[in-house]
Symmetry: C2
Subunit: 342 residues, 2 copies
């Protein structure tokens, strides 16, 4: 973890990036509202609740910065396609949150009641389906098949990643490569696609577009690996969810994976027993897991692994694009995702 | 209900329609298998289980007959786009079944264990998401934006219909128009779209395409209204689900709606109390509901309402297309959906 002063500096710089794309993000907000046009009142009600739940609009931000980097519109001028596709990626992200809550039996999301506690699994599943379909329908309306293809691939990969994760739930022998593939599928695919479809709106070479895609993929992996480390570090109050939630769900993430491969036989036996337990891990168990992680530098190294991906993301971008405000913004974001404390 | 002899004749004629499009449907089967290419083994496992669950491939059949009616390929020659889009609509239909089981807490599907009883809600939700995305990605690969647009609209409408149904669950005051709108959204939209995208593969006038769309919409409504009547008539063993399942789920369908509006005040009070009950309706309750329906001709009139939609579907088709084997097949299907006994 960084010092409080470093965190304050990081947060200020991140806020500056968000502020730089405020006009684009405001346009995205308008699209998010304007496209919830269902004749069925409950659809809008559930969707508005989840969309209003304090999301940072991280994926629309990545899309806007990528589009501007690619020259989709002159600085200072609006770009309607950024607004539409920004809403599309946020709808898709929101749909995954709704379905993830059902998958994980989650009751709390960003510190609020999850939609499923208010409208049941039924409401979460169905409004998630609606948002997926609405998002893809909006992307079709732009008339660009490659954009639609990228988005459908992302949805496909995200669900594959989630099923992959489900199929190795509680598997203490999970390899790091498999873990990273899950992360790439379930999380990085949409962030990568946000960068990609943003880039498609501009006029850049195939090489530059490929670099933007690779930046998105690597930064997306960094984002999730850092998130998995934060799950063992976060403060429940600010992070909006309980510490060790992944452990409780039987999800083997990088810190636990490192702890498992580095600890003693006796420690490993207890770790495996804790993982195998279906119920909520008790305080003692969590304290034990955290102690083993600390003893073996598991959290620190997971954080460093995230930083490696983030650094590679930055390198790929710098090799393909000259210095400028939008490249700088994307580099800031790559740093932000691995250094944030929540 | 028809006599056993009539049912036998109907079934024979229906089988002849299925047989006429056997080559197309076999090609669809190959696409259904070939496109389950996920690197994640569990995705294929769940998807194959559900796809192998005895579905009649009704939507691919409607699509194939519509495409052939529109002249998508000469009779006797294969049409690869029919095979692809046939698999697309069947994947979408399968995804809705997976999600419906979660929404309804369903344990049995077509007489077998529902996927969710084997892989949990998580497996059903996520593999459903995968199939939606896979289907739309396949449709994108054909390079026809209007086809993709029609399919995304259908997915949107289906989820809206399901949420609409959810929002009026247990509402004994539901109007027939609202019931029919739910049916149109949740069921008819995909059948309509199967006819529509089939028609788009051929060379027909705008007027003829519109007629095919309207045929699909009306026949799709007839299909669901008949299905809702069968829910109070079906034999659990052959139909693969228990009698009165909709009543148990608090779904107000046309037979119940007719019973509610025609019965005495005392009967209505008991009906409302049965509907309001969250638990499984007991045998006495179901017997009472069936008796009230019989006394007021509710099932018969619901069946007749289905027949009206079916007849209108046939009229629309006959006004727009000359007589021929594919028009005849679509007319047979419109009759089949309202006269079948399961």
């Amino acid at each position: 973890m960084n010092s409080p002063v470093q965190q304050l500096d990081l947060r200020t710089r991140a806020e500056e990036v968000w502020a730089r794309y405020r006009a684009d993000l405001d346009a995205v907000e308008r699209e998010l509202t304007a496209n919830l046009t269902s004749e069925v009142a409950l659809v809008g009600e559930v969707a508005r609740y989840v969309l209003g739940g304090g999301g940072k609009r991280f994926r629309p931000l990545v899309l806007a910065a990528s589009a501007r980097l690619a020259g989709a519109a002159p600085d200072g001028q609006p770009c309607p396609e950024v607004a539409t596709l920004g809403a599309v990626v946020e709808y898709i992200h929101t749909a995954t949150l709704l379905h993830d809550d059902v998958v994980d039996d989650g009751d709390i999301r960003r510190g609020q009641s999850a939609a499923r506690t208010l409208w049941g699994n039924a409401g979460s599943v169905l409004v998630g389906d609606y948002l997926y379909a609405r998002a893809l329908a909006m992307s079709v309306s732009l008339g660009r098949l490659p954009v639609v293809a990228a988005l459908t691939s992302a949805v496909e990969e995200m669900s594959e990643g989630e099923v992959f994760q489900l199929s190795v739930c509680g598997d203490a022998g999970l390899a790091e490569a498999a873990y990273l593939r899950i992360v790439e599928l379930k999380t990085a695919s949409l962030i990568r696609t946000a960068a990609q479809v943003g880039g498609m709106l501009g006029q850049i070479s195939e090489t530059q577009l490929a670099a933007l895609v690779e930046y998105g993929r690597l930064m997306g992996i960094a984002f999730q690996v850092a998130d998995d480390a934060l799950d063992y570090q976060g403060d429940a109050e600010v992070f909006g969810k309980a510490l060790g939630g992944d452990l409780k769900d039987g999800k083997i993430t990088l810190p636990l994976l490192y702890a498992l491969t580095r600890c003693s036989g006796a420690e490993r036996a207890r770790l495996e027993s804790i993982i195998a337990h279906d119920d909520v891990a008790c305080g003692d168990d969590l304290a034990f897991v955290l102690r083993v992680m600390r003893d073996h530098g598991a959290l620190e190294d997971a954080g460093n692994r995230a930083r490696e991906f983030s650094a590679r993301a930055g390198q790929v971008l710098c090799q393909a694009f000259p210095d400028g405000p939008h490249r700088a913004a994307l580099l800031e974001l790559a740093e932000y995702v691995v250094e944030r404390d929540r």
